[in-house]
């Protein structure tokens, strides 16, 4: 079974459409959205509507911290993110807010755990960005494979045979076998606001037959996405960083 894992869309319509079109060229059996559909980008309503349509057809969709903030939960955020959330809240319709409010923090599927941030305390929104934070997440679950987002930086961590945690920067387009002998934690990069110095949108495919995970990078129309952010009156930095990929 082939699963597409999509996270951190952040209201970026151009990036989301490019990724879904790219995914459409593969025989995908299931879509999993790891949250943060809104915030930063100029098309939060489109992002939520799209995820709703996929959810109606059986996709898993989780709650992210920006989604949580958009429905009114008090989340800690920097000023730009906060401004964007306040703007986003005004754009969303009741049905869209209601959909976000119904999203769970985690989902399990066989030996897999899906979560937006760290499995250690999903609602605390800790970042999994190094061996220590990855270790905390891996210790908090028995799942063989954990998939998360939140950092906007793709990374693959695993628990070694002797209990150490090791990290790896995945190359795009390489099918990496996630061996059954150990437990793995895959941080999927962002669709809507990549921060690993590669501005292309990121999503991943997991094939449970061959147990392989492939990170994919999809170039998209950054200029349009950035222009819409500026035209909406959102902080210009949020537009500029799309092209920088950080």
């Amino acid at each position: 079974m082939l699963t597409a894992i999509v996270t951190d869309i952040h209201g970026n319509r151009e990036a989301l459409e490019a990724c879904l079109a790219h995914a459409g060229r593969h025989p995908i059996d299931r879509f999993v959205f790891l949250g943060d559909y809104v915030g930063y980008g100029a098309d939060p309503g489109f992002a939520v509507d799209t995820v709703m349509q996929y959810a109606e057809r059986g996709a898993i969709s989780l709650l992210g911290n920006h989604d949580s903030a958009a429905i009114g939960a008090p989340e800690r955020m920097n000023d730009e993110a906060m401004l964007a959330i306040e703007w986003t809240r005004r754009q969303l319709k009741p049905a869209q807010l209601e959909f976000l409010a119904g999203r769970p923090l985690t989902a399990e599927d066989g030996d897999r755990l899906y979560v937006h941030a760290s499995a250690a305390d999903p609602a605390a929104w800790d970042y999994v960005f190094d061996e220590r934070s990855a270790g905390r997440s891996l210790q908090a679950t028995d799942a063989a494979l954990t998939f998360c987002g939140h950092t906007h930086v793709p990374a693959l961590f695993h628990l070694t045979v002797t209990g150490k945690i090791a990290g790896f920067d995945p190359d795009a387009g390489v099918a990496m076998p996630l061996t059954p002998q150990r437990r793995w934690l895959a941080v999927i990069g962002a669709v809507g606001q990549p921060r690993d110095r590669n501005p292309a949108a990121c999503y991943a495919l997991y094939d449970d037959g061959s147990r392989t995970l492939t990170y994919l990078r999809v170039p998209y129309d950054i200029e349009s996405a950035a222009r819409k952010i500026r035209e909406a009156g959102l902080p210009p930095f949020l537009a500029a960083r799309l092209a920088w990929g950080r």
């Binding site: 695993h158 070694t160 045979v161 090791a166 790896f168 076998p177 002998q181």
Partner: protein, 467 residues
């Protein structure tokens, strides 16, 4: 699954155990069959259970990660791997003879050593181009097929540069086999394809002399010795060994990877073309280095090593491409000849690590009995080599990085394509003669080379030809 009680006739995930083969270092190996799969197959089942010996389990896990990513004739095809509770790997059974079984026959004649060495080098180049360094190359991991090609097995200690290095993450010290491990592996480097060339140098040494250059040291402490103590020159063991083979072997065994052949393709090229090997002091050595040189290397070996960097294994090959210039020496095409030289020198300027093979094809007809057999033929051949050297005299490439080849063939395009294939050329530069009705009818050599060459081809035309 209880691995200690495997029996013929037993079925695991649909694979029927037929007969046990000689066990490997860390696993039992069975010939297996499957009702839906026609391929001859073996199943590897590790001796140890999880928790017993980390390295044995990791080696098994690593092979399960790397094998499915390998394609081609030089590695067994991956079929299936078991899950956590049922660890096994099923892969293609490669028919042939283990190189280990040939060690009793050493020393082997030089041409046979070169043929085996070239087959292994070609297999290594194929592996390196697929992002993998073997890192445990030794005779028991080489299978010689009946057609003379080599296949490499056992990827338990290997490194794939696009996958996590599970071995390095678990084990801090050097890992390998004492007789074959390279100096940089002893120092913890696991990403240099030239480490496999060192191991191949040890194999060539062994095949050519019947001796192991560094013995079979068991402890990692003793492995360090090869950082300063050079081996006895092979000709000291076997005076019949030709100097070119000693040159090749000792180059492979250089402590500094940069002093070895840059790629396995370059090594295969040398082994295929012994007459082109430039002989240096290495070929004449009769004894080991004196105490001053050894002491200097010993001092250098104590210097801290830079932490290994994550580099692309395949990209390291690209730094040392083999460029092949197809030179048409026929009268009336001097301008084109010159244009090919200009194109080649531009290419060489951008590829400082490149090697250049200058190739000319003498067209022979079926009516000629054997052009090289008579004196006239030999003279003609020599004359072509002289002309090739003259053509290349101004090219910006060091003498040891250029070779000259005069081929005789019925079909020049076939000969050029065959040469490029056999010598793993990365780039062919060829001139195209002016277009004409007759040429269109007969077909042009350059067009056929473009269509069929296994690599990049640059076609050069002169301004007059283009008009």
């Amino acid at each position: 699954m209880d691995v200690s009680r495997l029996e013929a006739g037993q079925t695991i995930d649909g694979f029927r155990l037929e007969e046990p083969l000689k066990p490997g270092g860390m696993a039992n190996i069975w010939r297996v069959t499957h009702p839906d799969i026609a391929l001859p197959m073996v199943m590897k089942v590790p001796f140890v259970r999880p928790g017993e010996n980390p390295l044995a389990i990791i080696g098994f896990e690593v092979e399960g990660m790397i094998l499915p990513k390998l394609a081609g004739e030089h590695a067994p095809r991956f079929v299936k791997a078991g899950d956590f509770s049922n660890p096994y790997i099923v892969m293609e059974f490669i028919a042939g003879r283990s190189l280990k079984d040939r060690l009793d026959e050493t020393p082997l004649p030089a041409d046979e050593v070169a043929a085996i060495g070239a087959a292994i080098a070609v297999a290594l180049h194929d592996l390196h181009a697929q992002h993998v360094v073997h890192l445990d190359l030794k005779p028991s991991n080489v299978i010689l097929r009946e057609n003379g090609e080599a296949a490499l097995i056992d990827y338990g200690l290997s490194r794939h540069d696009q996958l996590p290095d599970l071995v390095a993450e678990e084990v801090s010290g050097p890992i390998g086999t004492g007789a074959y491990i390279s100096p940089e592996q002893v120092q913890g480097e696991r990403g240099d394809p030239r480490s496999d060339l060192f191991a191949l140098g040890v194999i060539l040494y062994f095949l050519a002399t019947g001796e192991r250059p560094f013995g079979e040291p068991a402890s990692a402490r003793e492995w360090r010795r090869r950082l300063w103590r050079d081996p006895m020159p092979p000709r000291a063991w076997n005076p019949d060994l030709p100097p070119w083979l000693q040159e090749i072997i000792l180059r492979c065994l250089e402590v500094d990877p940069a002093a070895r052949p840059a790629t396995a393709a370059e090594l295969a090229f040398a082994l295929h073309n012994p007459e082109c090997v430039v002989l240096t002091g290495r070929s004449k050595r009769t004894q080991r280095d004196g105490p001053v040189k050894v002491a200097a290397r010993w001092l250098r070996s104590g210097k801290p090593v830079l932490p290994p960097q994550r580099r692309s294994i395949a990209a390291q090959l690209a730094r040392a491409p083999i460029i092949m210039a197809a030179v048409d020496l026929a009268a009336g095409h001097e301008g084109l000849c010159e244009a090919v030289a200009v194109a080649v020198s531009r290419l060489l300027a951008t590829e400082p690590g490149a090697r250049l093979a200058c190739v000319n094809v003498m067209k022979v007809s079926l009516l000629t009995i054997d052009p090289v057999a008579d004196a006239e033929g030999r003279n003609l051949h020599l004359q072509r080599l002289v002309e090739l050297k003259h053509w290349a005299r101004a090219l910006p490439v060091a003498a040891e990085r250029i070779t000259y080849h005069a081929l005789e063939a019925l079909d020049p395009a076939d000969a050029l394509i065959g040469f490029a294939r056999a010598n793993r050329a990365d780039h062919i530069v060829i001139g195209a003669r002016a277009s004409s009705a007759l040429r269109r009818y007969l077909g042009s050599v350059s067009a056929q080379v473009v269509a069929e060459a296994p690599c990049t081809v640059t076609v050069v035309r002169t301004a007059t030809a283009a008009r």
